[in-house]
């Protein structure tokens, strides 16, 4: 994100998906440090660590072991200190029910991961430009 240089938190268990995000950010010249956690639980314990700088945005996968994205959001949105950090869900699922459930939890965005890498880059570019323009609390 061009305005802040705060870290970006990626919660993603899949190695290649994580690589895809990293590569896409590199391709569109996003220089924010990227912290990757493999599941919701790890992400929560990281976020609650007082020593770290809070991320400016969280990219969240839904289908993860130990604590999935939905469970993570349930806890996250109850936490007064965290709940204002924007969460963009990056997922494979195009199920209507999943979308409804996720938006009910107050996420900032919902992106389906395209199979085509180039289209994925476009998605990433959109996220970057949106959160570059958007005001933050």
């Amino acid at each position: 994100m061009r305005i802040t240089n705060k870290p970006i938190l990626l919660v993603e268990d899949d190695e290649v998906d994580a690589m895809t995000v990293i590569r896409a950010f590199k391709d569109i010249n996003v220089t924010n440090p990227l912290i990757r956690k493999e599941n919701g639980e790890d992400a929560l314990s990281y976020l609650r660590d007082v020593h770290i700088e809070k991320p400016c945005i969280i990219l969240l996968d839904l289908n993860m072991p130990i604590m999935n994205g939905v469970e993570f959001l349930h806890v996250f949105k109850q936490d007064e200190l965290l709940k204002r950090i924007p969460v963009v869900v990056l997922t494979t699922s195009e199920e209507q029910q999943d979308k409804v459930e996720i938006f009910n939890l107050g996420v900032a965005g919902y992106m389906a991961k395209p199979v085509d890498y180039m289209r994925f880059v476009e998605v990433m570019r959109s996220i970057d430009s949106y959160w570059t323009i958007s005001e933050m609390p």
Partner: protein, 636 residues
């Protein structure tokens, strides 16, 4: 004759007769009394008075003799004159009294005696006393004394004897009269006694007659009425007379006949209802307010194993097991014993029943309450639902299995969408990076292979998406909204953006229908994209129509739509195959297709109760038809 008169008439008649009879008796009595009175008066006048007269005459004669004798003792002229005067006066008086006396009735012997007395008296006065008195006046004492001795004394004796005889006769007569009078009285008394006895007898007779005429028939009527009241309708009722009792009997007879008719009708009705109850396949049990069984029909016998006779009179709780002390066991008691828990009345509940052989079985019961006069009658409709329960359980198991399968399928779809897609995406990304990062290292063959690899990955992605779309139909329900098809189809055409050589024409204005927008969009999208994808002509034409002649008429029950193209056409033998999942007619390398589109269309249309079919001619083109019911809501 008399019998045909009414009792009232008979009563009036009898009473009148009694009154007249009593009046007659009264008259008779009065007449007898006056007769007796007259007789007494006769006795007094004809006998007592003459007796007194005789006494008077006797004393007057005695006085005259005394007057004469007194003149002897003191024969002074004063005394003689004085005594003579008394004497004459007495003689006159005697004559008067005698005249009165002889007017009375005397017997012939009496008459003779009277005549003799009259003669003797006249002799005594004329021959005895008068000469004696004249001699005294002439102071011829001696002569006078001789006259007295010769005439007066014997004559006086004679007269006295006569008078005594007369008196005796008179007394005799009086006695006779009195006796006859007494006899008369006795007769009258006897007549009265006889009358009284007669009246008494008459009273008894009348009573008996009345008893026979009124009370006996009344009693009979009473017996009949009591018999009818007791339910004996077969008794013979005889109408013997036309009087009130006869009318009463007639009325009783009519009543009896009426009751017999009514009872007959009631019995028919009861038999009808009973056979109705007997033919019911539901058990019917009725109880009084304390739960005592009053009705137990054959179906109930079958259900519980008890016969009607065994069940009637028992408390209904013996038909329920004792296993739920606070709950089901008291189900019947709750209504039948206490009348509490009225909320359950009329509601079908499932409880457990106890068969005679001890088995406990599930039953369905509906309890109704009915007020019968002051009583409450509960009717229970009972069904043995063991079989149904088993079936239900079986069904439930099947449903559970189905649900499990369904759930698995859903999970499968979820797994497919997430877990199959993730590696696919990874392959795609890696292949893409390889061909990008190492493009200078690949020769033409390698680049072609990379291209094919990526292409297959996309195909795989399309297939997975197709499966997901197909499996979502019917699972994910959207709300039915009014969809303007005309607008929707135009949007679909726009989104497909057909190539310039293909013209898509909407023939008429498409209707607005109630449907899930995503689904109908998928239908048009797939049909149109197929038509475009397989178009082989240089001038492609696709016509979309709502077939007014068949389905767009507002009175029809179905909408019918058609999409006609002038593409290659489909052989008739493929008509079925093309609607099957993953079936395509062209190699996928030639035309990219998953084989999901038409099966998806079929699934959606059939889900709404419609049909999809096609007509086609090779080389000329194909027409796909589908219908949608206008009242989809009701179909669902």
């Amino acid at each position: 004759m008399f019998k045909n008169l009414t009792i009232r008439t008979r009563l009036i008649f009898t009473l009148s007769f009694l009154v007249v009879f009593l009046l007659g008796v009264e008259m008779l009595g009065l007449f007898g009394m006056s007769q007796s009175n007259a007789g007494l008066k006769n006795i007094y006048e004809d006998r007592v008075i003459p007796l007194a007269q005789l006494g008077q005459i006797s004393s007057l004669l005695q006085q005259n003799r005394f007057v004469v004798t007194a003149a002897f003792i003191t024969p002074t002229p004063e005394v003689i004159d004085n005594n003579s005067a008394i004497f004459e006066k007495n003689v006159k008086e005697i004559s008067i009294i005698w005249k009165k006396f002889i007017t009375i009735y005397l017997t012939p012997a009496g008459d003779m005696l009277a005549d003799k007395f009259d003669e003797d008296r006249t002799k005594l006065i004329n021959e005895g006393l008068l000469p004696a008195l004249s001699a005294l006046r002439a102071s011829e004492l001696k002569k006078a004394n001789q006259i007295v001795l010769a005439k007066v004394d014997p004559l006086y004796e004679l007269v006295m004897e006569d008078i005594s005889t007369l008196t005796t006769l008179q007394i005799e007569l009086t006695k006779q009269k009195y006796e006859s009078q007494q006899i008369h009285f006795t007769i009258i008394r006897n007549i009265f006694i006889a009358l009284i006895i007669f009246i008494l007898a008459l009273a008894v007779l009348i009573s008996v007659a009345f008893t026979r005429a009124v009370f006996k028939p009344l009693e009979q009527a009473f017996e009949v009425a009591r018999g009818v009241a007791a339910g004996n309708f077969s008794q013979h009722i005889e109408v013997r007379s036309a009087d009130e009792i006869g009318q009463l009997m007639q009325a009783l007879k009519d009543m009896n006949i009426h009751i017999i008719n009514t009872v007959g009708k009631l019995k028919d009705r009861e038999a009808y209802i009973r056979s109705l109850m007997n033919s019911l396949i539901e058990g019917v049990i009725s109880t009084n307010e304390y739960g005592v069984i009053e009705t137990f029909n054959p179906a109930a016998e079958d259900i519980f194993g008890y016969t009607e006779n065994e069940a009637i009179g028992q408390n209904v709780s013996f038909l329920t097991p004792n296993i739920y002390p606070n709950n089901n066991e008291n189900f019947l008691k709750r209504h039948l014993g206490t009348g509490v828990a009225k909320t359950h009345l009329g509601v079908v509940e499932e409880v457990r029943g106890l068969h005679k052989n001890g088995t406990i079985f599930p039953m369905e019961i509906a309890v109704g309450e009915m007020r019968w006069k002051d009583h409450i009658v509960f009717t229970c409709i009972v069904n043995d639902i063991s079989e149904r329960k088993l079936e239900e359980e079986h069904k439930m198991r099947l449903i559970q299995e189905l649900e499990n399968t369904h759930e698995e399928l859903k999970n499968f779809a979820y797994v497919v969408s997430h877990d199959l897609k993730a590696p696919l995406r990874a392959i795609s990304a890696l292949a893409s990076w390889l061909s990008h990062d190492y493009s200078d290292k690949f020769d033409e063959e390698g680049k072609k292979h990379m291209h094919l690899l990526i292409q297959r990955v996309y195909r795989m992605d399309n297939l997975i998406n197709g499966i997901l779309q197909y499996s979502r139909v019917g699972q994910v329900k959207e709300r039915l909204v009014a969809v303007n098809l005309d607008q929707l189809v135009r949007e679909v055409i726009d989104s497909i953006s057909p190539p310039s050589h293909i013209e898509v024409i909407i023939e008429n204005i498409l209707p607005t229908i109630m449907i899930e927008p995503t689904r109908i969009e998928q239908v048009f999208q797939n049909l149109l994209s197929n038509a475009i994808k397989y178009m082989d002509k240089s001038q492609g034409e696709i016509h979309i129509a709502c077939n007014s002649g068949v389905g767009c008429n507002s009175e029809d029950k179905l909408w019918e739509f058609s999409i006609t193209d002038n593409g290659p056409g489909i052989e008739t033998r493929h008509f079925e195959r093309i609607f099957q999942l993953f079936q395509t007619l062209t190699p996928r390398d030639k035309v990219e297709g998953t084989g999901v589109g038409l099966s998806l269309v079929k699934k959606i249309v059939e889900m709404y109760g419609g049909k999809v079919w096609l007509k086609s001619e090779i080389g000329e083109g194909s027409t796909f038809f589908f219908t949608l019911p206008k009242t989809y809501n009701k179909v669902v």
